[in-house]
Symmetry: C2
Subunit: 378 residues, 2 copies
């Protein structure tokens, strides 16, 4: 399945905090065809370090397809012969320097000055991400989405959609995401941001005309990758191997184990396509997440009470980003509020990343949930 | 129980890698009285960010006693009316600037130059820590320890003792520690070290005549504290509270949630008494840990085969430093090697730190294990 990137432009976005952002541009892509009734649309929201590339390839020789390609495509669980599936890059997407990503954030040109916003870009929330997506949905003439879904931060956006626009979707599928981040994840998000603050090249966020804080950004991405993973896979993959067999880690402080070199290299590779300020803004948006903020909710419990759409909620037991017990607590809160909820566990060796890499076995359940008439009950 | 710090001096220590360190000084303290036969000594080894202050107070008005005071003292599980309990600061102890800690490492004066070693200090291992402790044990005239024990890195030292000097103790109690770090912990130790490398004040380890890299060091300690904890306690303690009620975290990038401010403050407080190079050396020692290295073992499985002492091995199910499955695998390896092993689970809300803060309920089992004649079987 070959896909093309499209760009959605919004002359002005008013944020939930009342700031305006001019010339908003976000990338998006779609799979399948919107039907005449515009009733077969499924919105897929992406995770923290992800993009709108949920499925397919841009070119035949791309090394990897989009992250949920296992379940999105013709004849797959989210069958693009039936559904019009689409996804958009969030505001302040971290992959700001990836040529296939279009986002608006601190690295974007401020139309008022002709220079990058830097730290003058307003703080935005998950509610603002969804507000921008809502403009795209309106632009497409879609009045009711068949479903909203997504993994991790994509699940947060799903909860925000369902709480802020409860009549705009028939069902939701939040995956490896809870209805609130919890103090512990707020603290880890702080850890993810800290290396950028330590990098002298960050320079208070003012680096667009000089060297970017790539060392701090690479370190941030490295930590995120490790936390999203699980020791079962990491141990089995790297063991106590040296990065270079001839360089014993005990012979010099700089000599590394294979696992150190691998995660550092992955962080550095991603950093080259990413923006440090965007990561800081993304951290803040996740820390401050309140579902239903777009409708004025001031707490997670208040926001969750606004949700009406039936939900299929997936967790994974070894998750160290959104622990399974948090996800289950969110599901229970929805049940207590009278929402019809179906839950399931994703099994795999990847920790949080099971929601991406081990999603395929859940395809049948997802397909059934998407096909079941909402009025018919669970 | 009031305790006094003592200092053990070793004119020269030859490391396992063949380097020599002159004028080695390590702090130590003891509780109870060594009997005439010198047969009632229990060595307690400290954790990564800990010190030899295992129990008691230095002064009546100390805010807190030593970390295992709940189980060490007169009439307690490790009864100092019966046992002579002692503990020493490791080499490259991270709390190098704590006036109650004496250690030898990069921050120490090199007798050859009259200046701090800095990065010219040789890399050392857990095996070297134990080699220095062994010199203290010899100095005390103890030929056989009643027990060796300790939590986390203290457990690593315990395994090293049992594998390198298998006839020098009657029993061991490794707590929340596995026989090898595993790739996943090697990678997290790398994360703990990284903020120091990012701090420009680190200056390649050469900072003893200028500003120390306290920001990086504080960040490192913050991460360690968070990883050693557990979301159950963190969430219950901090929730989504703001650090300052009048400063909404969404109003400015620098405004924080309470949990962020608390972990940052704890890291900064500890950093003021710590040394960044010592932390880097400690990271390396833990990453490269091989039990029995002092006797030439080249792998964990080889080293564990040298252990003969009966073991009481404690794990905790929510541990995100030494996962319970790792600890259980080490226990099983010892069983497979014919060692008599007793295992138990520590229950509590603190994650890895259950091995410190939730140890009290294990006191009865520890007391029984310490009192049981080794020849009598389990």
């Amino acid at each position: 399945m070959l896909v093309a990137k499209k760009i959605f432009e919004l002359p002005v976005l008013t944020t939930l905090s009342g700031k305006t952002i001019g010339n908003v541009r976000i990338g998006w892509e779609s799979y399948g065809t919107l039907n005449a009734e515009r009733s077969n649309a499924i919105l897929v929201c992406h995770f923290f370090s992800g993009t709108s590339h949920a499925a397919g390839k841009y070119q035949e020789n791309d090394p990897l397809p989009g992250y949920w390609d296992a379940i999105i495509g013709p004849g797959k669980a989210i069958d693009t012969n039936k559904y019009f599936v689409f996804s958009s890059d969030t505001l302040v997407n971290v992959n700001a320097n990836d040529p296939m990503v279009t986002t608006t954030g601190p690295a974007s040109i401020d139309p008022a000055t002709g220079k990058p916003y830097g730290m003058s870009f307003p703080l935005v929330t998950i509610g603002d991400f969804v507000r921008a997506q809502k403009a795209l949905v309106d632009h497409l003439g879609i009045q009711k989405l068949h479903a909203v879904m997504g993994p991790s931060m994509g699940g947060l956006q799903t909860y925000e959609w369902a709480a802020s626009y409860p009549d705009m979707m028939e069902r939701i599928v939040p995956v490896i995401a809870a209805g609130a981040p919890g103090a512990w994840l707020i603290a880890w998000l702080n850890v993810w941001a800290a290396p950028i603050h330590l990098d002298p090249n960050w320079n208070g966020g003012d680096y667009y005309d000089r060297a970017a804080p790539l060392a701090g950004l690479a370190e941030a991405i490295k930590i995120i990758g490790l936390q999203a993973n699980h020791f079962e896979w990491v141990d089995a993959t790297y063991g106590a191997n040296f990065a270079r067999a001839d360089l014993d880690p005990l012979a010099a402080l700089d000599n590394k184990f294979a696992v150190e070199a691998a995660f550092e290299a992955a962080g550095a590779a991603r950093a080259a396509l990413s923006d440090a300020n965007h990561l800081l803004y993304l951290v803040k948006a996740n820390q401050a997440f309140i579902p239903g903020s777009g409708a004025g909710a001031k707490s997670a419990s208040e926001g969750l009470k606004r949700i009406k759409a039936p939900a299929l909620i997936l967790h994974t037991p070894t998750d160290q980003v959104f622990p399974a017990s948090w996800v289950k607590a969110t599901a229970q809160a929805l049940v207590d509020n009278g929402v019809r909820v179906e839950s399931a566990e994703i099994v795999g060796p990847f920790g949080h990343l099971n929601g991406l890499y081990a999603i395929a076995p859940q395809g049948g359940q997802i397909a059934d949930f998407l096909a079941r008439p909402v009025a018919a009950g669970m």
